[in-house]
């Protein structure tokens, strides 16, 4: 018993001695581990401590081994050991800085806030044009403040269908890449780049609006750079707006629903000098209604597009009337390979839909037809054909079509006419060009035209017509058969 106890004790003692040796060697050889030792000079180490992380793109790739003051007392020197993985990313032109909480003023915003609850750490970034790799023992000069997050890679990648546009502002007002772009107070995109115009007359701000919000941007939208503003008068009271912009300015825009055309990529807009006086429109009464349980959007076998038509009805006796129509169209490829959209003529032709008081022909000017594809891209449509017999059917042809755009397959288009049975339905798209729940046609009364104008009438999975007016000036809906289309506009 005694012997076993002594044996165990001796083994433990031996293990402790070996453990102590291991610890001492570990602590002694921390510098000799594989990796690249570096020294980085700072004016101010900002509380960086030995043992802090070195991070590249947020990943820990090394350790701060020691932080000392240089012999001349002019600099603080951080001794760093980069692990082999991190060393591969460090080049002679890499930028090292210490991440601590920083408040960059009203315009600069705050950064490094994670280090409020974490140790300060060292971060580095390597520009896209990489220099030669760093070698061990290099002495670098660190940056006293983090580099501006101007690198495009700091921003979210541009998705297919996102709107890229340029906003022209008289002055930058502290916008930075990454500053938000908001619509009704909701972020819909961000600033991607800022540049001074060539002549120095204004600043060009590149914006990205996310695909699912791009329908909120029209050519009628008012843009401005949000800054805190105090408005009002002594007797009427003051209003303080955009207080949140105190820390980080942002771009805001607003627009009336049902006004303006969707904009195409590369759109340029001039910003207002300040927030427009009028407030955004109130919540529409229809939105208060309990929404019906939306049906499942149908499988995307048909290619439906959103069509926005804008024009001005020039009137001799009265002020000009703006015309604004929105609706759906069926997109397919005709036998010549053109991209054709079949839709209701009343949607895309003011001369057809408008009536004059004295029965004269309406004087339509400034016609614009914008077609928003399911992917979010906005293209201009040209009205190439209308039904000569006065039926509510027209065909648009799109230009500058993306090469990978697919149309509705030919076997889904029925040119032989079809019985409008109980399973017939109108398929349409929403304001963002995404498919909306279909509306059944089988009831006693046909559904309202308003939202369904130009919708595809589908029977047994086949498009047999478009939903339009029964006659040119009537509000009664009707199914206009597709076989009214001329042969050359039909698919092969």
């Amino acid at each position: 018993m005694h012997r076993i106890r002594y044996l165990v004790g001796s083994l433990v003692l031996l293990a402790a001695v070996l453990g102590a040796v291991w610890l001492v060697r570990l602590l002694q050889n921390l510098d000799a581990r594989p990796g690249v030792p570096l020294q980085i000079e700072f004016h101010d180490a900002r509380g960086l401590r030995a043992g802090a992380d070195v991070r590249f793109r947020g990943v820990t790739v090394g350790t701060v081994r020691a932080v000392t003051v240089a012999a001349d007392g002019e600099k603080a020197v951080a001794s760093v050991l980069l692990e082999p993985g991190g060393a591969a990313q460090a080049c002679v032109n890499s930028v090292f800085w210490i991440v601590t909480p920083r408040f960059g003023g009203l315009a600069g915003g705050a950064s490094g806030l994670d280090t409020l609850v974490r140790d300060a750490y060292l971060a580095f970034a390597t520009p896209a044009q990489r220099g030669s790799p760093l070698t061990g023992g290099s002495l670098l000069t660190g940056w006293e403040r983090p580099p501006a997050p101007a690198e495009a890679d700091a921003l979210a990648a541009v998705e297919h269908g996102d709107l890229l546009m340029t906003l022209l502002v008289p002055e930058n007002h502290g916008l930075r890449p990454g500053s938000p772009v908001t619509f009704r107070g909701l972020q819909t995109g961000e600033v991607r780049g800022i540049a001074l115009a060539q002549q120095g007359t204004h600043v060009e701000v590149q914006l990205r609006i996310a695909r699912r919000h791009r329908h909120t941007v029209t050519d009628q939208c008012a843009f401005w750079v949000a800054r805190p503003a105090l408005t009002g008068a002594l007797f009427s009271g003051f209003t303080l707006t955009d207080v949140t912009a105190l820390l980080s300015p942002f771009v805001a825009y607003q627009g009336e629903p049902g006004k303006g055309l969707p904009v195409r990529d590369g759109h340029r807009a001039a910003a207002l000098a300040s927030r427009p006086v009028e407030e955004p429109t109130a919540v529409p009464a229809a939105a208060l209604l309990q929404p019906e349980r939306p049906a499942e959007p149908p499988a995307p076998d048909l290619v439906l597009v959103r069509i926005v038509y804008a024009a001005v009805d020039h009137d001799f006796w009265s002020p000009d009337d703006p015309i604004h129509h929105e609706g759906t169209g069926v997109l397919f490829q005709d036998r010549a390979g053109r991209i054709v959209v079949a839709t209701a003529r009343s949607l895309v032709d003011g001369a057809y839909s408008e009536t004059e008081t004295f029965g004269s022909q309406p004087d339509i000017e400034q016609e614009q037809i914008q077609v928003m594809l399911p992917a979010g891209t906005v293209l201009r449509g040209a009205r190439v054909w209308v039904h000569a017999g006065g039926r509510d059917l027209a065909a648009l042809v799109l230009d500058e079509v993306p090469p990978d755009l697919l149309g509705t397959p030919a076997d889904k288009l029925g040119f032989g006419g079809g019985e409008i049975g109980p399973d017939a339905q109108v398929r349409r798209v929403g304001a963002d060009a995404a498919p909306a729940p279909p509306v059944a046609l089988g009831g006693r009364e046909l559904p309202q035209l308003a939202e369904n104008l130009g919708g595809a009438v589908v029977v047994a999975g086949m498009v047999v017509g478009v939903y339009g007016r029964a006659t040119a000036h009537a509000d009664a809906p009707a199914v206009v058969p597709l076989d009214l289309l001329p042969e050359d506009l039909r698919p092969r």
């Binding site: 106890r5 433990v12 102590a20 921390l30």
Partner: protein, 501 residues
């Protein structure tokens, strides 16, 4: 006719116990002489003072107890006996005490050799002495010997120093008739072999010593006298009871204060003794003790360190109030407090509970079974044989145990840190030892060595205190643990405060 030389001479000699409330007179007015080369029996009622007189003769007076009060004069070979360390009587006396006082951890031969060495004689005489006493060689260890054999070993050891006065306290107690007679014959035969030796045997067993004694010293409790009778004297049946306390003496409170002062003095004496006897004389014993104290508690303190280090780290990282924040700072703090304060303190506790208590138990048993008195009789300072090894063992063993604990704590903390928060080995080492300096390690070792020294002194002092009963040994172990832990706590608290505040 040659004059018979006198070995001991009592001149109106008296002895009294110093008890609270007054002295208890054992006997007064003893006046007689014991001849050199006389073989005397010494009898009297139990508790009558036989052992007290024997202890006075052997010089075995506990410094922590009030010494017996003497009166009259006692001469040994013509010189007065004062009870001092260099007393003529003390240097020439050997005693076979009750329970023999053999060192249980040694063999019979080593016991004899120890006595030979202490007397400055060659250890080669040991086999002769053992043969003389009738001990077979190589025999079993002392712990396995029968009562008769133990007495024989004790005789052989007592003879090793060639004493001129041999005192035997109840050498035949607990033996059967035959064995008792054999021991008596052995005592007489060894007595006869040395012409200058005087032997005094305390006994009630007149049959065993029939026709062997030259005279009988009689301690009569009835009239409180000590007298010398002829060899034919026999104890009368129904002798009187022990005398009641004499009215003389100091009040109980003063007695208590004096006892307390004696205790303090004894504690101071232990400390002084430890410093004076610090250079090890018994090298082998010291080396063995050091090795034992390093190895024995290793598993215990290793487990303690691992549990403390591992749990502290795990809890600190798991119950981090700043979710996931400041983890390296948290680990640095945990490392510092574990390495510099917590683990050393708990290792000190464990070491004290394991080693300090063990030492007190062993010393208490040695005291109880007269082994320490026997060492004193052999002329070996108990401090050399027991205290110095204990001090070295603990002064070295406690820091070693602490290091074992710290290493185990670090290992467990490494596992906990990588398990709880995914620290890499380098990251953990960087953070855990970030705040630990060489100064911390020195402070830890200093605290451990100092508490080792103090716990050694405490265990020794408590262990070698008077042990009137077996329960006193148990009480001493309790006391050693409580006091030892208090010492460790105080040293660590003060040491940490001093080092860091």
């Amino acid at each position: 006719m040659t004059t018979v030389a006198t070995a001991l001479e009592f001149r109106d000699f008296g002895l009294a116990h110093d008890r609270p409330g007054g002295a208890v007179q054992l006997f007064v007015g003893a006046s007689f002489a014991l001849a050199q080369h006389g073989f005397y029996l010494f009898c009297g009622r139990s508790g009558g003072g036989k052992s007290s007189l024997l202890r006075v003769l052997a010089g075995l007076v506990d410094p922590r107890e009030p010494a017996p009060i003497r009166s009259g004069e006692l001469l040994a070979w013509g010189e007065p006996v004062t009870g001092g360390r260099r007393d003529a009587l003390r240097l020439r006396t050997a005693a076979i005490l009750q329970d023999e006082g053999l060192l249980d951890e040694l063999s019979p031969r080593a016991n004899v050799e120890l006595a030979l060495r202490a007397a400055g004689r060659s250890v080669r005489l040991a086999p002769g002495l053992l043969a003389l006493a009738g001990i077979p060689e190589p025999g079993p260890s002392v712990a396995e010997l029968s009562g008769g054999m133990r007495k024989r070993v004790a005789v052989a050891r007592a003879l090793a120093s060639e004493p001129r006065l041999l005192l035997c306290d109840e050498p035949t107690a607990g033996l059967d008739e035959t064995a008792a007679r054999q021991i008596a014959l052995l005592l007489r035969s060894t007595h006869d072999a040395e012409r200058t030796r005087t032997t005094i045997v305390t006994t009630h067993d007149f049959d065993a010593f029939a026709a062997l004694a030259d005279g009988v010293m009689v301690l009569d409790p009835a009239d409180r006298t000590l007298r010398l009778e002829g060899p034919g004297w026999r104890e009368p049946p129904g002798a009187g009871l022990a005398a009641g306390p004499a009215p003389a003496g100091e009040p109980a409170v003063a007695h208590g204060v004096r006892r307390a002062l004696l205790q303090l003095g004894a504690a101071a004496a232990t400390c002084g003794e430890a410093l004076r006897r610090l250079p090890p004389v018994e090298l082998a014993v010291t080396a063995r003790t050091v090795a034992r104290f390093c190895v024995e508690p290793a598993l215990f303190v290793g487990a303690c360190g691992a549990v403390v280090g591992g749990l502290a780290t795990f809890f600190a990282l798991r119950n981090n109030p700043v979710q996931g924040g400041f983890e390296s700072a948290l680990l640095s703090g945990t490392g510092k407090v574990a390495v510099a304060v917590l683990v050393p303190l708990l290792c000190g506790f464990f070491f004290t509970a394991r080693i300090g208590a063990g030492a007190a138990a062993r010393l208490g048993t040695m005291q109880r079974t007269n082994q320490i008195a026997a060492l004193q009789m052999l002329g070996i300072r108990p401090a050399d044989y027991l205290l110095t090894p204990l001090v070295w063992g603990m002064v070295i063993g406690m820091p070693v145990a602490t290091l074992v604990g710290v290493v185990a704590a670090a290992g467990a903390a490494w596992l906990a840190a990588s398990g709880a928060s995914g620290f890499t080995t380098t990251g953990w080492a960087n953070a855990f030892f970030a705040a630990v300096t060489a100064g911390d390690l020195l402070a830890v070792l200093g605290k451990a060595a100092l508490s080792g020294l103090l716990v050694a002194l405490c265990s020794y002092h408590v262990g070698t205190g008077p042990k009137p009963s077996g329960a006193a040994v148990g009480a001493a172990v309790d006391e050693a643990i409580v006091r030892g832990m208090a010492i460790v706590l105080a040293v660590h608290a003060l040491g940490t405060f001093w080092a860091y505040a």
